[in-house]
């Protein structure tokens, strides 16, 4: 009975360790490489404002959204620019024109934010 009990306990410890390690690795990975399509559009713009000046040193402190988008477009032309321009217009209408906050999420905007976070420009 004793060897079988030890074996079970050891197996459980190993299983526990494996589960928690996977969970910790997953959380760390998510933090480092956030998946696209997680935040809403307003949150993504807030994130963009924080991350862009660090990754794009050519951007002056007085940059506008359109200047930022133009710069990213030059560096990452493969992003979905039709969607990104629509999202920008919706955000501008909300921000400067007293419009409704843009609802939902934008996959392309999340991709853009992720690319900037990873510094892959």
């Amino acid at each position: 009975l004793v060897p079988s009990f030890t074996l079970t306990t050891d197996s459980l410890v190993i299983l526990n360790f494996a589960s928690f390690s996977t969970l910790a690795a997953g959380l760390l990975f998510r933090r480092l490489f956030p998946r696209p399509g997680r935040g809403d559009i307003v949150d993504e713009f807030t994130a963009l404002e924080l991350v862009a000046p660090k990754v794009l040193p050519s951007l002056a402190p007085g940059f506008t959204w359109r200047e930022l988008f133009l710069e990213v477009r030059r560096l990452r032309p493969e992003l979905g620019w039709v969607e990104l321009e629509t999202v920008l217009r919706r955000y501008e209408e909300y921000r400067y024109g007293n419009g409704e906050p843009p609802r939902g999420m934008s996959r392309e905007l999340s991709r853009m934010v992720s690319a900037l976070r990873r510094g892959r420009m």
């Binding site: 402190p61 506008t64 200047e67 209408e93 921000r95 400067y96 024109g97």
Partner: protein, 314 residues
Amino acid sequence: VIGLGASIRESVVGEVGKVVVGRERETELMLAALLAKGHVLLEGAPGVSKTLLAKAFSKCVGLDFRRVQFTPDMLPLDILGGFVFNMKTREFDFRKGAVFTNVLLADEVNRAPPKVQSALLESMQELQVTIEGHTEKIPEPFIVLATQNPLEYQGVYPLPEGQLDRFMIKVDLGYPDPRTEAEIIRRNLTVMDLADVRQVVSASDLKTAFDGVASVQVSDDLIAYVAEIGEKTRKDQRIGLGASPRALVQLVQAARAKAYLDGRRYVIPDDIKVLLEPVLVHRIRVARSASLKEDDLSASNLLAKIVEGVKPPR
């Protein structure tokens, strides 16, 4: 109504482009000034199509147009009008001068003496003429398109700062690039006539557009952004004369017109940034001490540096 702005812009730029090549940006600025109820100073060397541009523009917006060639021997009476004795009624009648129109082309405005210039500029601001206690209203809309040649120094009276401040927008008409110039030469081989330019904006569309511009929103933080830029131009040691409150008011008005012409019902920071140069640079003077230290220091460079450091609302 908002879509009308973009359609007006497209048709006016297209129509003016029939006779004036490569001046799309300048045409848009003139249109923005008209809708923002401002005046335009066109500056450029002789032969860069200042007068043609002004004539073509007024023709396609369908407004009453008059041209006055300014000369050193002019009198305020020639522009404003005055009292003339009527032999029949044996009374003095007010005869209206050239200023009583919608679009006044003041050609070579810096050739007229200061008395004439100030008479014109007063009427630009007040939209009325007062002579011997008699006041006459100038019909609206009223826009002065004044031209001046920066290369002449003999026999000219440069506009002082206070008078330059009355112009909402200054358009610098530089020489065209070789490709555009080739196109100008090619078009001039055949008959290129102002008669080809049609009226493309009706009076009712113009009225709707004025109402549309008045309804364009400007957020409070965008107004604070403009005020901060203005303050920085006045506090910068390298600038002798910064932007006046009138300049900032006109900047916001011009930005509203631009937003309307772009098909938007709100102003964005980019509208302000695009218009900073045409609206502010002619009102800013670089301090003499600063220009002695740095050779290539200009109002334009200084303004660009200031704006780079001011964070717009995001």
